[in-house]
């Protein structure tokens, strides 16, 4: 038994759903005076507890709106849960939306440093890995071109190359990465499999039961913000498929 690297205890996430979104002061004051500020409480996640041990590859299954993305956001630290505790040990890299931090007026080169900084890398690290990133993304000739002139495939490739250049201890993946053309997709899958083989811990969200079965050894099944079942990937997937 390895030690747990992700420990989630009784995590719950509450949203306030208002009938109409009030996002300005004028409406807020008017509604407050008319006593119309009604909020509907809504728990996107409730009583979520699980542990992931080092080297585990955990798949998260569930329909749209089951709370999968919210769970990933909580684990990657973007959202703070309303209740419950979370413990994460090790370097966590989220592969959510690639290149979300790009500045379109910046060149490819400048974006490597900017996006790298957002992901928490140091300058020395980026200097050292710069060639590797460019090589992997296959865009050497375009490094001094502003990103706004990149094709969406090139952006995604660059984003993927920057995000995966580190050796993360925990990798958070949302859906499968369909990046660029068929050739690059193979390459990116190979890179992810390489990371898998190195024994990193993975949290993987997918709609595809096939993928979870193929890639994961453990799984959680979420429905309406609650855990329906967790355990061995094969078992959970079969039950999920039946439902």
């Amino acid at each position: 038994m390895g030690k747990s690297v992700i420990k989630v205890e009784n995590v719950g996430m509450q949203f306030n759903l208002s009938q109409e979104k009030v996002d300005n002061l004028k409406e807020y004051v008017i509604k407050m005076l008319k006593r119309e500020l009604l909020f509907q409480e809504f728990w996107a996640l409730k009583n979520i507890s699980f542990e992931i041990e080092k080297g585990d590859r955990m798949g998260v299954l569930g329909l749209n709106g089951a709370g999968k993305s919210t769970l990933l956001k909580i684990i990657s630290g973007v959202m703070k849960p309303t209740e419950g505790n979370l413990e994460i040990k090790g370097k966590l890299v989220p592969l959510l939306e690639l290149g979300a931090g790009f500045d379109s007026n910046y060149t490819g080169r400048e974006n490597i440093y900017l996006n790298g900084a957002i992901l928490g890398y140091t300058k020395e690290f980026l200097d050292e890995k710069y060639d590797e990133i460019v090589e992997f993304a296959e865009i050497r000739d375009f490094m001094d071109v502003p990103i706004k002139n990149f094709s969406s495939g090139m952006r995604a490739r660059l984003g993927f190359a920057i995000a995966t250049v580190v050796e993360p201890e925990i990798l958070v993946l949302d859906e499968v990465l369909s990046v660029g053309d068929a050739k690059f997709r193979q390459k990116s899958e190979a890179r992810i499999m390489e990371l898998f083989d190195e024994g990193i811990t993975v949290l993987f969200v997918s709609h595809s039961i096939e993928q979870v079965k193929r890639l994961c050894n453990k799984a959680i099944w979420l429905e309406k913000g609650k855990i329906v079942m967790q355990g061995d990937a094969e078992e959970v997937c079969n039950k999920y498929a039946e439902s």
Partner: protein, 265 residues
């Protein structure tokens, strides 16, 4: 991204870890602002300089009796005010503008606000060169008191960071603050005696100047650059207290509401 933490205290603990990010954000803001303009960073010199020339021509005729060195008088006011206005406005929008990335990757959110403020501060520091050039051109006295200006400039930075964080947090929830603040800034500009002498305002309204912390900071800077005299203790005290209060208020409000930003951007 080391996340062996329980979310508390990340305000301070993470600062050193994300220092490089702050540098990159400052660099980005400055680079993007001047990219594709032929004169580049010189715009930050030219803009106050040209405004000064125009206003000097217009106003020196009117106020020449009361203001001894109008170009320097105007520039100190304008530079201080512009830094505050640009910095706080930029910080106000910083969370909303970076919404897409805030939703994806965890970074201490105040970094985005600080990035905008510091990049404006760099421009401000560079434009002080213009001030010195104008001081030389107008044969102003260079006294030891110029070094004292560091103090009001530091207070100005604190004040701007506080106001920026406060506005950034509030604007996430109430978008129309952006427009209200635009009007407020215009009012503040006319109320800070930038291009007219404070003495032309009737006695019964003078208290407005005494209440305006930006005016206090401007007068402190004028004491150093223009008049070559020690600070007025009352003004210095008021400027210090208001800067510290705004800074603390900004940090507290930002810290309290930062976890809810993501639900509103």
């Amino acid at each position: 991204m080391e996340i062996s933490k329980k979310f508390e205290h990340r305000f301070i603990v993470n600062f050193s870890k994300y220092q490089y990010l702050l540098k990159e954000l400052i660099k980005r803001d400055i680079k993007i602002k001047y990219r594709r303009s032929v004169l580049g960073i010189f715009w930050s010199f030219l803009n106050p300089l040209l405004t000064m020339v125009v206003l000097t021509i217009i106003f020196s005729a009117i106020f020449s009796m009361t203001i001894e060195n109008f170009p320097v008088y105007f520039l100190t006011g304008k530079l201080v005010f512009d830094f505050f206005a640009q910095g706080s406005k930029g910080a106000m929008m910083s969370i909303i503008r970076n919404g897409a990335i805030i939703k994806k990757v965890y970074v201490p959110k105040y970094m985005y606000s600080l990035g905008v403020i510091f990049s404006n501060f760099v421009t401000f520091a560079l434009s002080l060169i213009v001030l010195f050039m104008v001081m030389i051109a107008t044969h102003a006295d260079f006294t030891i008191y110029i070094l004292y200006a560091i103090l009001p400039i530091l207070l100005l930075l604190m004040f701007t960071i506080g106001a920026g964080l406060l506005l950034a947090a509030l604007t996430v929830f109430f978008r129309d603050i952006e427009h209200l603040y635009g009007v407020f800034i215009t009012m503040l500009m006319y109320g800070s005696a930038i291009f007219y002498p404070a003495s032309i305002i009737p006695q019964q309204y003078q208290f407005l100047f005494n209440l305006n912390p930006i005016y206090a900071l401007i007068s402190l800077c004028r004491d150093s650059f223009l008049y070559g005299q020690a600070f007025n203790t009352g003004t210095l005290l008021y400027a210090s207290i208001s800067s510290v209060i705004i800074l603390i208020l900004g940090i507290v409000v930002f810290y309290k509401y930062q976890d809810k930003f993501i639900l509103n951007i």
